[in-house]
Structure formats: C-alpha cells, structure tokens
C-alpha cells in the first residue's frame, strides 16, 4: 500500500466513530421517522400492532387545526424573536467591541444569560411574570394588587413573555457572532473615513454594516434554526397554552408522541418539522455560500 493510500485509510478509520454516532443516532432516526409516520403506532397499546396506513397521518395532519396553529406560532416566534435577537445582538456587539476599562467583565456578564440553563431561565421568567407577586406586575402597577394581571394566562401576553425570555437568553450568542465579524473589519478603513470627515453614522452605514453582512447572516442562520426548536420555554412557562396560543411544533410533536403515545402521528409532525427546518437552513446556506466550508 502506498503511503498516501495508507494515510487516507487511516483518516477514514479515525472519523469512523464520530461518523457512526451521527449515522445511527441522527440520520437513521430522520429516515426512520418518515417510515414510522406511515404507520399507526400507539405506545402502550402494543396489541394493535403497527399497521401500515400510508398517507393517513399526513391527511389528518393537514386537517389538524392545532397543528396548523403550531406551525403559525412557530413561524411567528422565529420571526419576532430572531429579529430582536439580531437587533440587540448588534447593539451589544458594537458596545463590547469598544475599548474601555473592565471590558472583560462586561463581556462575561453579557455571556451569563447564554450560560443559564433554559429551564432555569424559563422558571425565572415565569416567576417574574407571576400573577400575584411577580416583578413585572409590581413594575407596572406598584402595590395596587387588584390591577395585577395573570400575564401567562393571556394568549397574547403569554406569547410575548416567551419571546422576552428567549431574547434575554440568546441575544448574547448573536452578539458574539457579530462581534467576531466586527473584529475582522480592518481598523484603517475607519481611520481613512475619519480623515475624509465621515461621522459615526456614516461610518456605521457605509463601512460597518456592509462588511458585517456575512456575520449577520450567520448569526441569523444560527438563531433562526435554534428558535425553530423552542421547547423548554413553552414546556415550563405555558405548556402550550392558554388555548394553544403558545403551542409550537416541537412541543406539539413531543405531546403527540410522548404524552399521548401517538408514535405514528407524532412522527408525521416530526417529519414536517424536519422538512421545514431543512428548507430554511438550505436557503440560508445558499445565501452564505461556500465561505463557511473552506
């Protein structure tokens, strides 16, 4: 065997364990989900067997109002929360990119929400939005207890609360990706612009924003895909309620498969979720182009 061939063989052997993990526990399950979705499978009723039902689950899914509501909610959540995360992420990145005393500590503080477990931040915001002694009620109504609202029992405010909790936790991540983009912009560009008499806003719109485009797109990609799988917040704060106003796809799929035991039907939901996120991610990857994989 030539050394070059030996080296290639060795490279394949080295990657094999990681490859097998991903193949068996990620790719196979995706394909298998599709197979399961063509069957009627009820966990806890093994006596029924697992009859093949063709597209029946998908036809049911198209007529399932709660599922359609979950699709709508998920898109709305993704759109609104990602918008604010990129906006605040950009603002935070611009601030922590500046040189000032104690910048390290400020950067670490900004990272704290990112490190807080989502279940913890969910409970925390649930407490802050609490109807009887939550901080939000106190901030709005002071000691006037009669005016206090049950925010999480209101369809609109419950949704807003979940967006707030998500934006709080993940803006820092967007900020870091954008910060990396800022650091890649050569300082001389700004110096030259200053010499030419460009003000802060002009420099921002003419230099910073255009050169930041790739970093912004990557932050957008990561935040969008992550927002698609929102689950912990909904599970802890609202359980999808009130009246399905915060029911999102990942939560709905979980409920169907694991709470109601509808493995077949729930798998149809899983396949739908996968297809949606696959299309969206492909769209982004096209936009970002090859530079990520060099």
């Amino acid at each position: 065997m030539t050394p070059a061939r030996r080296e290639r063989l060795f490279s394949v052997v080295l990657i094999l364990p990681a490859f097998l993990f991903v193949l068996i526990f990620a790719f196979f399950p995706i394909v298998h989900s599709f197979w399961l979705s063509l069957h009627r499978i009820v966990l806890g009723l093994p006596g029924l067997g697992e009859p093949f039902v063709g597209a029946e689950n998908y036809i049911e899914l198209l007529n399932d109002r709660v599922a359609l509501r979950a699709v709508k909610n998920t898109f709305l959540f993704v759109f609104v929360s990602t918008f604010f995360e990129i906006l605040f992420g950009l603002l935070i990145a611009l601030v922590i990119h500046e040189r000032f005393k104690g910048r390290g500590i400020v950067r670490a503080s900004v990272l704290v929400p990112w490190a807080v477990p989502t279940v913890v931040s969910s409970q925390m915001w649930r407490f802050i939005f609490n109807d009887k002694y939550g901080l939000i009620n106190f901030l709005f109504f002071g000691g006037d207890v009669n005016a206090y609202r049950a925010w999480l029992a209101d369809p609109v405010y419950a949704f807003v609360a979940i967006v707030v909790a998500d934006v709080w936790k993940t803006s820092a991540f967007a900020a870091l990706l954008i910060l990396a983009g800022l650091q890649a912009i050569p300082e001389d560009l700004y110096e030259a612009a200053k010499v030419d008499g460009a003000g802060w806003w002009q420099r921002f719109f003419k230099i910073t924003l255009p050169l930041l485009r790739p970093a912004l797109l990557i932050a957008l990609l990561f935040r969008t895909m992550d927002a698609f799988r929102v689950f912990d917040l909904v599970f802890v704060m609202t359980q999808g309620g009130p009246a399905d106003s915060t029911n999102v796809l990942q939560f709905y799929g979980y409920k169907k498969i694991f709470a109601e035991g509808m493995m077949g039907y729930g798998s149809a939901v899983s396949v739908l979720v996968f297809l949606i996120s696959f299309v969206v991610s492909m769209f982004y990857v096209r936009m970002i182009g090859k530079r990520m994989f060099r």
Binding site: E7, A18, S33, V106, L176
Partner: protein
Amino acid sequence: MRKWILWALVMVIVFLSLGPFLWFVDTSFKTEVEVTAIPPVICPSGSVGFYVSSIKNYRLLSYVKNSAIVATLTTLITILLSLFAGYSVARLGLPKRELFMKALLVVSMFPQISIAGPVWRILYRLGWLNTYQGLVIPYVTLTLPLGVWVVASFFKQLPEDLEDAAIIDGCSRLGALFRIMVPLSAPGVFTAAILVFIYAWNEFFFALLIMTRQDVQTLPVGIAMFQGQYTLPWGEIAAASTVATVPLVLLVFVFQRRIISGLSAGAIKG
C-alpha cells in the same frame, strides 16, 4: 459626550443581562413570607431554608449527581471522538470532508423532535431508557458537530512542519496527534470541552424523554418538575436554579475569552 453614551449603554446591558438572574438568586435566600411580599423584598434575610428544603424534600443532590455524571461522560466521549474526527478532517485529507462537515452542520441544526421518536425506540429496545448511557448517547451525537468544528478549526491553525518533523523522527500518526497536536491546541480542546459540558449540563428535551424515573433525572428535568402540594415552591425552585447555574457562571467569568473564541470558531471559521 460619546464616552457617556457608551457608559450608559454598558450599564444598561450589564443590568439587563444580570438583573433577572440575580433577582432569582436573591429570591433563593428569602423566607417563605419574603418571597410573596408586596412590595418585593430586595434585601433578603439570608435564610438558607430553601436550600435545605430543596435537598431534603426535592432530591436536589441526586439531580446534581446525575447531571455531573452525564455531563462529564458526554464531554469525555465527545472530545475524544472530536479529536480523532477533527484530526482526520483538518490534516489527513479525508475524502469528502466537506460533505462530512456539512452533514454535521445539518445535525447541529435540526430540531430534536425530528429524531426523538426513533432514538427513544432504539433505547427502549436496548433497555437503556432511564440509564446514563441512554442519555449520553444522544448527547454525544448532538455535541459532536460543535466538538469537531471547534477542534478542527484549532488544528488547522497549527503549522504542519511540527507534525512532519515528529513523523520523520519515528512518531506514528496517532502519536503525532496526541503528543504534538493535542498539547499545542490544548486551549482549543479545552474550549470545546467547556462548550460540550455546558450543553450537556443544560439539555432538557432528551433528558425529559429518556429519564422518566426520578432517581436518574438530571437538574433541568428536576427543576422543571418541581411541584408543591398547593402552590409552586418558588423558593426551592430558585435555590435549585442557583445551584444549577452558579458553576456555569463561574466558568463564564474565568474562561470568557476562550468561550467567545470557541463559539465564533465553531460558528464561523469552521
């Protein structure tokens, strides 16, 4: 003027980042009466009653133990596999490596629900529901993309002559990986380890599906399920949340620089 605006913004950002969580920490040191008081009590009496109660009545220590075991095992296995895979991708001219990296990116992005059913069935057949290995397996799968991306990006920055020299001196390829590459990119490997550990420590979705028995549940599941007899035990929830989060906050403050470079390396440089 500009300086003042900057400082004001810094203050607002720091306040909004830390404020909500500090409020929860604050709550954990209150007494039952102080938690529900209006107006809210800002300076708590410093009671550790909720900590004692969450250990005695809510199995806090058992959750901590399970989380520590699962997160540690996940980190060790993921990092080992990432070293192999990262070396293969960054150095050995693996055929189709671009495809492999893209596949990893896809894995790291799709919603967990799209694999949850079949993964649950596999673990059920193996009898691994409610076991540590049953949870570690999906965690390794889901953290491998991050691990491989970060490790590979650090490996690529090392000059190739070092390894070549070692190999000419009779070092095997595997020897070169562990004697040259790993020590030289120790900061990168360590960064990847921190990120993987935080992921495994915080993960909730799979932990919820796989660990249905209380004695094997991890912290996030425990905290999500805290339920009092009549009302929610907010004090205990806050205490357990503090215990679950403080180690991570310490990691962040000590390794801020590495975490930032690791996150952006994993996401951008590839």
